[in-house]
Amino acid sequence: MITLRKSDERGHSNRGWLDSYFSFSFADYYDPRHMGFRSLRVINDDRIQPGQGFGPHGHRDMEIITYVLDGHLLHRDSMGERHVLGPNEVQTMSAGTGIVHSEFNASGTEEVHSIQIWILPEQEDVTPSYQQIAFSPEEKQGRLRLLAGPQGGATTIHQDARLYVTELAAKQSVAHEIAPGRAAWIQVVRGNVTLNGQELAEGDAAALTDETEARLTGVGSTGGEILLFDLR
C-alpha cells in the first residue's frame, strides 16, 4: 500500500526568519493523524534567512539528522563541536543523555534550505555524539547513497533504520527492495519523480507498507532529489 502525503497538506509555519513545512506534527503544528511513521518522527523542510537560525536548545534521546540542499549551516553544541554543513554532506547527532546545540545560517546573504529529520532511537541514554560526513555528488546521482544507518558506510544511528539520498535526472531510475515486514518513506526534496508509476512533486511524500519495491524515476526537465527511509 502506498499512502501519499502531499506537499500542500503538510503543516506550515512562517516566522519570517524561518519558513518550515512539517511532514509530521511538530511544535505548534499538531495533527494526531500525522505523528510519525514507524521510527521516523520528524521531517521538517526548513528555509532559514541569512544570518538567522535556531539558538541553543536541548534534545534528549533522539537521532537528529540534517541534510542541506542549498546554503550552509553553522553548527555548535555542548560537546564543543563547531562545524559548517553544506550540500552533499550529512550531519547526525545522537542526543542520548542530553545535548544543547544551535544551528545558524552561516551566510549573511544566502538562504539555507535544509531538511531536519528526527528518528526515535532503539535505546535510551546513549552517550551523545556528533558525526558529519561529506560525499561527492556523483555518489547520489542515479543511485542510492546511504546517509545514515545502524552500521558503517555512513553516519551511525541507534535505530534499525536507513536513510538514503538519490538524485535522478529525467527518465533515470533507481529501485530499492523493501524486505518483508519493513516499510519505506519517500520524501521528494527537489524536483519531480514517479514512485512505482505515481507522480510525486517537490515536497510530496509517500509511505510504503506491504510493498516489495520502491521504484523511483526522475520526470520533467530536471528530474528530482529524493530521501528514502527504510524502516522496521
Partner: protein, 146 residues
C-alpha cells in the same frame, strides 16, 4: 527551565550550557537567555556571536519556567549593571506573588540574588554546573508533583 547568563568572553556561556545539558539529562525542557550587554559594550568575537544567538530574558520566560538558574562570572554582584533590569523584574514578579513555587540556583557571583524572592533554592557544592542543572530539574519536578 530557564537558564539566564551574562557573558562577554564565552566562559560563562560554557557553564550555562553545561547546566542546561544537566537539565536536559533530567528530562527538562530548557530556555537559554543571555543578559544583554550594557549598551552593547562588549566587542569580542564571542560577544558578537552570542548577541546573535541569544535573546534576552523576558517576563514570559520567567513565568513559564518551573526553575531558574542564573549564571555569571565570580566577580558579578547583584549591583552589576547588566543584571539590574532582570533582577528588578524578578523582584517585581515576586512582590506581585507571581513567582509561585519555583526552584532557583546560581552559578558564580549571584548567589544572593534569589534570596528573599520565594525561590526554593538548590545549592550544589560540587561546582559542577551539569550536576546543578540535574539537581534543579529534579527538584522542580518533585516540587511540581508534590
Amino acid at each position: 527551565m530557564l537558564v539566564t547568563f551574562s557573558c562577554e568572553t564565552g566562559d560563562t556561556e560554557k557553564l550555562a550550557l553545561s547546566a542546561a545539558v544537566g537539565a536536559v539529562q533530567a528530562r527538562a525542557a530548557i530556555r537559554l537567555r543571555r543578559i544583554p550587554d550594557a549598551e552593547n559594550s562588549a566587542t569580542s568575537e564571542a560577544a558578537i556571536r552570542m548577541r546573535k544567538e541569544y535573546v534576552g530574558p523576558a517576563e514570559a520566560d520567567i513565568l513559564g519556567a518551573d526553575a531558574l538558574i542564573l549564571a555569571a562570572s565570580a566577580d558579578t554582584t547583584v549591583r552589576s549593571a547588566p543584571w539590574q533590569n532582570f533582577l528588578s523584574l524578578l523582584l517585581r514578579l515576586s512582590s506581585e506573588g507571581r513567582l509561585g513555587r519555583k526552584v532557583g540556583a546560581s552559578i558564580g557571583g549571584l548567589s544572593s540574588a534569589l534570596a528573599g524572592l520565594g525561590f526554593v533554592t538548590v545549592t550544589d557544592f560540587s561546582s559542577d554546573p551539569q550536576a546543578l542543572g540535574r539537581s534543579v530539574a529534579d527538584m522542580a519536578r518533585s516540587l511540581k508533583s508534590s
